[in-house]
């Protein structure tokens, strides 16, 4: 319980205010106000098409919001204010379907360090590959990996950058239980030991419950409810949250 209160008093790493995102005039995301706190595991749940992945793209500064602003470490990011490169590089994403470069596993993990002009990362790369259990495969070409291995490479190439915030977009949706367990364990350790803020998008409420400190339900682009994990699952305020966690239809 103490941990929860500590998390609640921590300052926000992301602060969203009046953030809207529209494609071709159709609004797909509308977030009045949302804070993601430093060092927490924040899960975004909701049915597909709710705007979860869109929100993650905004949080990784891959697209600007149509209106409103996202403050990252108190620096605003909006349609007219691009995020400076050094801050942009403190956030990264692991996507549902990893697209690896057609190189060796090791080169893939090293790639983000290369982008930052760092040539000294060999030991870090080795240690990270060890962490995700792929050290034996480090010279293999990334194309030849299985789905679970490829996703662990994607996780390793993100972890090696030691981001302040790691965004996970359905990272285990297509994986077997063994790899799901591995990946959950790795990110949990990353959060506990390095204090990395995790934002997890999932449609799997069980995964949200296993990993998250706080959970938000997103429906049709709007945050319906945002609460700590206990409240969200035990005594949700909104009836639609209750329906969603019980696996009933909520549209």
């Amino acid at each position: 319980m103490n941990e929860t209160t500590a998390a609640q008093t921590r300052d926000p790493i992301f602060r969203l205010q009046g953030v809207n995102k529209a494609y071709n005039g159709r609004c797909v995301l509308h977030v009045g106000s949302l804070d993601i706190r430093r060092g927490e595991v924040f899960a975004l749940v909701g049915p597909s098409g709710a705007g979860k992945s869109t929100l993650l793209r905004l949080l990784n500064f891959l697209e600007p919001p149509t209106s409103g602003a996202i403050r990252f470490l108190d620096v605003p990011f909006s349609a007219s204010q691009p995020m400076p490169l050094d801050l942009r590089r403190r956030v990264t994403t692991v996507f549902q379907r990893p697209v690896l470069l057609n190189r060796s596993v090791r080169e893939n993990v090293k790639y983000g360090l290369h982008l930052r002009g760092r040539r000294d990362g060999d030991r870090l790369v080795d240690a990270t590959l060890e962490q995700v259990g792929l050290h034996e495969l480090s010279d293999q070409r990334a194309r030849t990996l299985s789905g679970g291995e490829a996703q662990r490479v994607a996780l390793a190439r993100a972890m090696v950058l030691k981001p302040d915030a790691l965004l996970l977009d359905e990272p285990t949706a297509n994986l077997d239980p063994y790899n799901v367990g591995l990946i959950e364990e790795i990110v949990r350790r990353l959060n506990r030991e390095q204090g990395t803020t995790l934002v997890l998008v999932t449609h799997n409420v069980f995964q949200a419950r296993r990993l998250a400190d706080r959970v938000a339900l997103l429906l049709e682009g709007q945050v319906i409810e945002e609460a700590d994990v206990e409240t969200f699952f035990q005594s949700p305020r909104d009836p639609r949250t209750g329906a969603f966690v019980r696996g009933e239809m909520v549209y």
Binding site: L62, T93, F95, V99, L101, Y111, G112, L115, A158, L161
Partner: protein
Amino acid sequence: MIAIRDPALFQIIQLSLRVSGVALLFSTLIGIPLGAMLGLTRFAGRRLVVALLYTGMGFPPVVVGLFVYLMLSRSGPLGRLNWAAVPALFTPAAMVVAQCIISFPLVAGFTMAAVMGLDPQLRQQVQALGATRWQTTAAILMEARVGVVVSVIAGFGSIISEVGAVMMVGGNIEHKTRVLTTAIVLETRKGNFLAMAIGIVLLAISFVTNVAMLYLQGRTFEE
């Protein structure tokens, strides 16, 4: 062997390689960025540019030759200016211009196709890892390298083997603008066996350059 025995032939080979090499260099410098841009960005008029490019990929060299001939001739729109930067007709520089126009659409077109054939998610994931715009483009071209090298091979093939344009703007002048292809035409007309030998030299050059460029594609074929 033939080349060493015959200094005239050696000169012809040298000029062929120089003209087509320089033309290929310029086509690559224009074609790869243009192809990458067309494959990666969406802008008004893109369809038209792509349609023009596809047309350019199939341009008859002799028509390109005619066009350059008209532009550069003394009374043509460019020739009239008498600028130092505008090459005179019947010089190697004029041949380079014509060959550039023939090969850059091929380089750009194949590069565009190679870039568009990649996973559309690649760009976003590379950006998410912190790549700048230039780093993203570099990564994409690197991933598309098999196709990009094919584009350069196609560009080279189209000009080293081309007769119409170099004949028209170069004029097949001995010691000045005679290249392998125009020499073959001439020797054949004279009923000279040398034509066949030159043809073999041309084939050999094509083969050697293509093998060399395949190395640029890297280990991709060895998987």
